[in-house]
Symmetry: none
Subunit: 309 residues, 2 copies
DNA sequence: GCAGATGTGGCCGGAAAATGACCGCGATTA
DNA sequence: TAATCGCGGTCATTTTCCGGCCACATCTGC
């Protein structure tokens, strides 16, 4: 890709996903050197796109929210991904009327109308050859998510019923973690931050009442959610003698942070409620495993292995 | 404005209005010569943008999107579902370059370009309020899925490498089950039906060689897959050094037949798909366990304990 | 507080692309 | 039939781009 324009377009498309990317990662994706990437970023800034950066370890580039984009096209892979996304979403949940899975199933049926003609045959081929099994997951209402999104964008307080109680909150983010959707909000009644499961929210109402934005309680909403979910859980550090991809597969149901130590050794930092849940995945993986910390898990682990021999 | 990228971006923005522009007008707006404008248009076409032109008096350039694609097909819920589907898909996987999750992330960033104007603000509100955490999962290549889809649609035999071996198969369905994608195909080498994990398929090639369709081995592909996954269920016999009631509790999720050998020793005959699933229950139980049969499980069990110490 | 990771931007020289001018061609319209 | 307007080849010149290198600033984790 020795074409600046195309590279900048790709850079925009990548940044627009909202994720943060490290310089090396972006340079790798765009097939160019870090130096050139910096120049491209600089160029984007020159055009008025607000690219945030953060130096230091864990540094990143990220596009500020809510900026206007030039028209970007879906390439073939992206079109395929769109279909798959809808297919998998349609397969998760209860298919109740008004649920996102239901809407996804409908959208899945007609998305090809939106795609460039060149891709239509490909997408229809994809559709005719797919079968998706239902993955039981909490079913979320599309209308609720949409209402929440609007309220977040306009900084409007909302009220809703949750576990029988009426709440009034300032909504900040909708978070997706482990197949579930959560709402991060400041609960004006409790005067503190709270995370709600969106599938349990009923009767949401946008009060239209504006609120002043507060700083997030953590660097990102997900960090806060993880902290909360992780209260009762532990970070287990292990080394597995298997390639990263294999480990990712084995631990796909867990919250894991993986690092490749070498081609066939992987360091995993897994957050789990109980170390016992790690066992099946590791057993299926059939690879040597060493637990490093915490000491309590290490001890329990050794005790267990002693007991089952 | 001696900057190609900026000029092309401006050109895109101008054309996005939907109006038709004459070459001279565009060249004037962009402050360049008609020749260069033509080159820019050519470049846009190269990127896939459908720019219509018309020679002769009253000739023009125009972006054809909007007239060709009726953008009113998705209702609000469906648009939301599409975004969520992409966000979910983008969050699952390892984000390797070329994987579907990566493509989904990019598509997620661009989808609003394809929605009716009425929905754009809604979708961009949704996007700016979303954060999705990564769920480590096997990463599937979008290109592979797409190739498989084409082959299925055209009933072409394909070859690919799987676990080191070269296979030649007649592809029938791509199946999604429990966060994984599978290919149901008739393996001409083995002369039988087989299910392959798509993330483990490499070097797929559409041979172009047609095949005659066979009846599926089950009512649906998923049925067959489920049968296959459950085919290996076996009776595992073990002795646990714990009271029967405790064992019953630990194995409550399994199909188990228990006998009290003594007050604190219990014989269990459990039917499971895979012995690995027994591990958490036994680990929570925290008691000595001995596996008696089958021999294969006993061997695997010992192997596992050796590996995790 | 220090070490290391990561973004920043200046500089350099060779390589590559962009530019505008000119031209003949073909399609379209009046 | 003639005028208009997009198309694209060629060419010499100018401009930009690229990647490597470096010194520096900033931030995190220990």
């Amino acid at each position: 890709m020795a074409d600046v324009t195309q590279r900048v377009l790709a850079l925009l498309a990548t940044l627009q996903t909202g994720r943060a990317f490290s310089g090396d990662e972006l340079a790798g994706r765009l097939g160019t050197s870090p130096r050139t990437l910096r120049r491209d970023i600089e160029k984007l800034r020159g055009y008025g796109y607000p690219v945030q950066t953060q130096p230091g370890p864990g540094g990143y580039y990220r596009l500020s929210r809510g900026t206007v984009m030039p028209p970007l096209l879906l390439d073939d892979e992206e079109a395929v991904a769109a279909m798959l996304g809808l297919a998998t979403l349609a397969a998760s949940g209860s298919a109740g009327s008004g649920s996102v899975d239901d809407a996804a199933a409908r959208a899945y049926g007609k998305l090809d109308q939106f795609l460039p003609r060149r891709l239509r045959h490909r997408v229809s081929a994809l559709r005719s050859g797919l079968e998706a099994g239902r993955t039981p997951a909490p079913s979320t209402s599309a209308a609720t998510m949409s209402l929440l999104a609007e309220a977040i964008a306009h900084r409007h307080q909302i009220t809703f019923r949750y576990a029988g109680e009426l709440r009034r909150v300032e909504p900040y983010r909708q978070l997706h973690l482990r197949l579930r959707w959560y709402l991060l909000a400041f609960d004006t009644g409790r005067d503190d931050w709270r995370v709600f499961r969106i599938d349990r929210i009923t009767d949401p109402v946008d009060t239209g009442h504006p609120y002043a934005e507060r700083p997030l309680p953590a660097r990102t909403g997900l960090d806060y959610l993880r902290q909360g979910l992780g209260k009762d859980s532990q970070r287990v550090v292990l080394t597995v003698h298997a390639p990263l991809t294999a480990v990712a597969d084995a631990l796909r149901h867990h919250e894991a942070d993986l690092t490749a130590l070498s081609a066939d050794r992987t360091r995993a930092v897994v957050t789990v409620d109980a170390w016992q849940w790690l066992l099946p995945g590791l057993a299926f993986l059939d690879a040597d495993v060493v637990v490093h910390s915490p000491a309590s898990v290490r001890a329990a682990w050794l005790r267990f292995t002693a007991r089952i021999t």
